[in-house]
């Protein structure tokens, strides 16, 4: 009975979303106030209905209702309670339901925090959000119903994929979805502005925190995914340029560009049409990401179920949304005059333009590499895959100039600047960074170029950013949250550079066959293999290895890598053992038994690998802090227009 209620709630939510899409948009067009007023209550009603459906599916998982097909597929009586709750988004149908819940949450948040906007604007923004919600609800109901019954009911469920039975996986998808879907707000705003025919800097100011929050969530989601892949997949890598990783990385790059271009448009009025186009592109890339993951058209380590009808549905939806918004853009954007103030080649505007060009080009490069196999297949050129070296090479080529430009951004004035002024301020830091880089080059035991580049980039970006902090302190010592967020995010880049390049340059790794008592030496560390024993877990049986680690002669830790066989699905999974540290991680993964008590063992020493995620967390923090700036929440009276 309850699952049917969930289904009814979903159908009602679809109807409400359609109402929320049609009435306010038509009302705003014709100027009918009561129709526009439908938007807000509809947004709340949609949230209530989707939340009910979501709660009912969770209930089915908790009570182990195996008469629901989705539950029977992805749960099991042995599954611990916390994973029963998170199993809701463990596969396609449920994660799509979570996606619609996140849309409903964002929509309700927009409805709640938009009191200061003109009625027509808010009607249009919520209307566009309604269109997006309706699309996904229809997708959910018509192609991937999570409440479909299984008759007769299963006695026992299959298991939740063991890879997903992990704390990192509990929060990774929701954070990612908050990011993806959050870009729908700036998208909806862009469409509303195009429908309205003018882009008011004050409305733009209102969307900036939303973009920052969405981007911050996406940053967190991607970082969690990378961290999870690092410790859970047992390969010790942190980024694979896998199509699905790329799918989340493209909106991240476009979103980072959008954050910067929105700042220019809001403060200087320049780049108006570009900001609109970028808002459309960012959300379109989020949808494209959803399509790539859901349709299974690409070979990836993330294989969600590939059902052609689902792929087709979302492709059509993608075509309608992207095609429709680009058509609207083509019709309307030329008439929304770019009355931004002129700026000289040496100005902050130029630097932010360069930032946008580089980020967007990097995004296009990832897009090409990700879609090229699809294109080649369609053209009959054969089945190909694009290797990580392509992405790594292109990405480094494009990001190197960006890293060089970062410190200049904050120190350069809007509109017109003496190029010598920021150069003089940063010259000492350039010298310091070059010396640090050179020192790193000669001190590094291996990978000197990567290590030197990492140290140089980090010192340069951090030093340049701190130079800005210092000049603010001398001027008046006041930091707006917007500035603080920028400083945090840019310091995050520096920390990330240390992590990424030093890990890649200094990583030591060996795969060896070991018998009990054998030792593996990596740099200063010795790993002694002490054998393997059988251990019974709650829903798995594990081979648990014991590895004793020595630093020189001193014993520093005992590690227990595991090889688990899950009872229900019979899947085997590697559970690597880790000793985290600020300057290095020790990483041991158990391979296969090789006979006579010998085992294959994978051992890594990964210097500074934590800095990768620490950098990402700083960037995320930067996004959230920026969003708290009170300036964005001031009432939209003409008087505030002249504050900056």
């Amino acid at each position: 009975m309850l699952p049917e209620l969930g289904q009814v709630a979903l159908v009602l939510a679809l109807l409400v979303a359609l109402l929320q899409a049609v009435l306010p948009l038509v009302g705003a067009h014709r100027g009918v106030a009561p129709w526009m007023a439908v938007a807000r209550p509809a947004a709340y009603a949609q949230l209530a209905l989707v939340a009910i459906a979501y709660g009912l599916l969770t209930h089915a998982f908790i009570t182990q209702d195996f008469s629901v097909g989705y539950v029977a597929q992805h749960s099991n009586t042995l599954l611990p309670m916390v994973y029963r709750i998170t199993a809701v988004w463990g596969s396609h149908e449920g994660s799509l339901l979570l996606w619609t819940l996140v849309i409903a949450l964002w929509t309700a948040a927009v409805a709640r925090f938009s009191r200061s906007l003109p009625a027509t604007v808010i009607a249009r923004v919520l209307g566009v959000m309604g269109v997006v919600a309706a699309g996904f609800l229809a997708f959910l109901i018509f192609t991937s119903n999570p409440f479909a019954r299984l008759l007769p009911a299963a006695i026992e469920g299959r298991d939740l994929n063991p890879l997903l039975q992990d704390p990192g996986m509990i929060i990774h998808p929701p954070m990612l979805y908050f990011g993806y879907v959050g870009f729908a707000v700036s998208f909806a705003f862009a469409i509303a502005a195009l429908l309205d025919g003018r882009i008011d800097a004050r409305w733009l100011r209102w969307t900036r925190p939303w973009t920052n929050i969405a981007w911050a969530f996406l940053t967190l989601g991607i970082a969690l995914g990378s961290w999870w892949a690092y410790y859970e997949l047992g390969w010790g890598g942190w980024w694979f340029w896998d199509p699905v990783e790329n799918a989340s990385f493209m909106p991240w790059l476009a979103g980072a560009a959008l954050i910067h271009s929105q700042a220019v448009t809001e403060k200087r009025g320049s780049f108006r049409s570009w900001t609109l186009l970028l808002a459309i592109a960012t959300f379109s890339l989020s949808l494209l990401g959803a399509f790539l993951v859901r349709s299974g058209v690409l070979t990836s380590v993330h294989s969600f179920a590939a059902d052609p009808s689902r792929g087709l549905f979302i492709l059509v939806f993608l075509g309608l949304v992207i095609g429709g918004s680009l058509l609207l853009y083509a019709l309307r954007a030329p008439s929304t005059l770019d009355d931004g103030k002129p700026f000289s080649p040496a100005s902050r505007e130029t630097l932010l333009l360069a930032n946008n060009l580089l980020l967007v080009t990097a995004c296009a490069m990832v897009l090409i590499g990700t879609l090229y196999p699809l294109l080649a297949d369609a053209l009959g050129l054969g089945k190909i895959s694009v290797g990580p070296p392509y992405f790594a090479l292109m990405f480094i080529l494009l990001m190197a100039p960006l890293v060089l430009l970062v410190p200049f951004g904050a120190l350069t004035r809007w509109q017109r600047e003496q190029a010598s002024r920021p150069l003089a301020m940063l010259a000492p830091w350039l010298v310091v960074a070059l010396i640090a880089g050179a020192a790193a080059f000669f001190l590094a035991p291996q990978g000197p170029w990567k290590v030197a580049a990492g140290i140089f980039g980090a010192v340069w970006v951090a030093g340049g950013t701190l130079r800005f902090v210092w000049s603010r302190l001398r001027a008046n010592g006041r930091f707006t949250p917007e500035m603080a967020g920028m400083i945090l995010a840019h310091l995050g880049i520096a920390v990330f550079l240390v992590g990424a390049l030093l890990t890649e340059g200094l990583n030591r790794q060996r795969e060896v066959a070991v018998a009990p008592g054998n030792q593996v030496t990596l740099g200063d560390y010795r790993f002694r293999f002490d054998g393997v024993e059988k251990v019974q877990g709650p829903n798995f049986l594990a081979d648990r290895g014991t590895v004793t680690v020595f630093d020189g002669e001193q014993r520093i830790a005992v590690m227990h890598p595991e090889k688990r066989a899950y009872a229900a699905g019979g899947q085997v999974m590697t559970e690597a053992a880790l000793i985290p540290g600020v300057t290095r991680d020790l990483y041991v993964a158990l391979g296969e038994p090789l006979g006579d008590g010998a085992w294959a063992l994978r051992v890594h020493v990964k210097p500074f690998v934590r800095w990768i995620w620490a950098g990402a967390l700083l960037m995320m923090l930067g996004g959230f802090v920026t969003a708290t700036d009170r300036r964005f929440r001031k009432p939209l009276t003409p008087a505030t227009e002249s504050t900056r």
């Binding site: 994929n161 890879l163 047992g234 299974g296 058209v297 070979t299 380590v301 294989s303 179920a305 590939a306 059902d307 052609p308 080009t361 490069m365 090409i368 590499g369 090229y372 297949d377 054969g382 089945k383 190909i384 895959s385 694009v386 290797g387 990580p388 070296p389 392509y390 090479l393 292109m394 080529l397 795969e511 060896v512 066959a513 018998a515 699905g569 019979g570 899947q571 085997v572 999974m573 590697t574 993964a589 391979g591 296969e592 090789l594 006979g595 006579d596 010998a598 294959a600 994978r602």
Partner: protein, 164 residues
């Protein structure tokens, strides 16, 4: 031509040139890092091209791990097995830890190159769902069997993979 237009023209030409250089670089980088997927039959019949056969080209070998073909000398890291597409089998050698889902009679995609008659893999990919077969492998194997009009032992798996 007035100065504004001239400046605009220079900008446009510079942009076109930059885009051209970028496109060339992308194309070159892509060309160098692309790995084609072939089945054992395509490799053995020479359909995949001479560069695959003589070991100069790095490519991906897709198919099923043949039944009873897996062997690994006790205490050694080198695993040997054969990959089959139903028509032909190719011996594969891989030194290192096998993926968790690597098993006989299951789909595998190996990246590497030929050394003599043996495919030496640098990387093995087995999917993390045992009923799943990579779509591209399923397509390839399906094609091969239609072409030869044979009822392949793997066709069930191929179908399952394609429609799952």
């Amino acid at each position: 031509m007035n100065p504004t237009r001239r400046r605009r023209l220079i900008w446009i030409l510079a942009l076109v040139a930059a885009a051209g250089i970028a496109a060339t670089l992308v194309a070159m980088a892509l060309q160098r890092n692309v790995a084609y997927l072939y089945t054992p039959n395509e490799v053995l019949t020479g359909e995949a091209g001479p560069q695959v056969g003589d070991g100069t080209a790095r490519f991906r070998l897709g198919g099923m791990v043949a039944k009873d073909s897996f062997e690994r000398p006790s205490g050694s890291m080198e695993a040997r097995f054969r990959v089959t597409d139903g028509d032909a089998e190719l011996p594969v050698s891989y030194t290192g830890i096998l993926p968790d889902l690597f098993r006989e009679n299951q789909a595998v995609v190996a990246t590497g190159r030929m050394q003599g008659d043996v495919f030496v893999a640098e990387e093995l990919l087995a999917k993390h769902d045992e009923t799943y077969m990579p779509k591209e492998v399923a397509d390839k194997m399906g094609q091969a069997h239609r072409k030869h009009d044979v009822d392949a032992p793997a066709s069930d798996a191929a179908k399952e993979g394609a429609s799952y």
